[in-house]
Symmetry: C2
Subunit: 249 residues, 2 copies
């Protein structure tokens, strides 16, 4: 019997009904015809990818690399760390707007769709099947990410290149948005018992699910601290200049 | 048969199994003995409140009012709007830390618990039953709110009273955190079809669910714009002072 259904029935109806329904369900359970977890998920529309994992990863990393390289060259006049931060926002702009944007538009047809980015999401879903079952929180969080943090990331790149006065405010807003999204993403899955991936799998669990997302915990944290320092120093200067003006009067 | 279970079975097993399970479920379904929506939710541990709605609302608004009044008096040297903003953070500190903090600690025993704050949450759950069924996203979002935005709100009050240089950075962080949390809170329920409340009910739906939470959309938005302006102006001053220094050299 499907364990998720079993838990659901236990919560809703108690053990007696669960046992009865269990008999019915055991008779009907078929072998999973997809690579996602939990293994008893039923995804009738699922079609196997015809693109390999390496094709998908090469695309993702080479396009991200191209964004990084072009931004690195354009941002030549900035210091090394600032230049790297700006490159990060360029890569975020691409990933949030294009990759995650695709998910927000097509999450309902993903399992059966064979377009390249849908195949990318089916590959990623081996590490977190919430993407292939259009989990409610995941769709909402990804929609906010694609609609706001994506365009805002490109805006941040521009704001640093043009030395706009709001550049660190934007850096703070996006980084906090990314951090909060990632924390909720891990936290909800932690409370779900990591059922949406093969727990401990070196590629799907550790690389796709943990590592790839952990980047959006660590780097935003560093950039929040950086923005905090920059903005506080600027505010300090502004406060002291106001105090001096008052004293002069 | 429980409609939510019916949908679940239809998705997982198709109509044949649904029909069989339907026969079993219909025999066992009992009338709901709680005031929550959807009406067929089964909450076996639920115990009716012995505190009235007015008792609970009087407590909530009088304690919030006390926090507001005390902060208003303490923050006398600030301008009216800034003083009001600081009062808002004091009230947020109380609501996030105490009210929402209680939910994070006791969400698993809420339905059957008769302590005052558990009764407050049972009353609120008439407008959103996700609190009384410990919905995963709700628990995660509330935990972040109670653990971070609560203490940070009190820290913001202090930072404005002591004119700390990071006061607008804190204002921006908390307001964005509150806004993102509230957006996800409404968005997930919108995609769930507003099933966790009596849709359109003047008190439970419109006052508890919509109005009380909409405050955390509107006020944070205003405070984000305010912090953006303040911090950008300060950064602008800092940038121009650096340019002048370079010119002098």
């Amino acid at each position: 019997m499907l364990p998720s259904l079993q838990t659901f029935l236990q919560k809703q109806c108690g053990w007696s009904i669960t046992l009865l329904a269990s008999l019915i369900m055991d008779a009907s359970s078929a072998k999973a015809t997809h690579p996602f977890w939990p293994r008893d998920l039923v995804i009738p529309s699922y079609v196997d990818n015809n693109r390999s994992m390496s094709e998908i990863l090469v695309f993702l990393f080479s396009v991200s690399g191209a964004f990084l390289l072009v931004t690195w060259l354009i941002a030549g006049r900035l210091g090394t760390w600032r230049r790297l931060a700006v490159c990060w926002f360029a890569v975020c702009g691409f990933i949030h707007s294009v990759i995650e944007g695709w998910f927000c538009l097509y999450y309902d047809i993903l399992p059966g769709d064979q377009s390249f980015l849908s195949q990318l999401w089916k590959e990623y879903s081996k590490g977190d099947s919430r993407y292939v079952i259009a989990d409610n929180f995941t769709v909402c969080m990804e929609t906010v990410t694609a609609a706001f943090w994506g365009p805002f990331s490109f805006w941040t790149v521009y704001s640093f290149l043009a030395t706009k006065s709001y550049r660190f405010v934007l850096q703070l807003i996006i980084s906090l948005g990314q951090l909060y999204g990632a924390v909720l993403y891990f936290f909800t899955e932690h409370r779900d018992g990591y059922v949406h991936s093969e727990f401990g799998h070196p590629i799907y669990f550790w690389f796709y699910f943990i590592f790839m997302n952990f980047l959006w915990i660590v780097i935003p944290l560093v950039l929040i601290v950086d923005a905090w320092r920059q903005l506080s120093a600027a505010q300090s200067l502004s406060d002291s200049s106001k105090t001096q003006k008052v004293k002069r009067k």
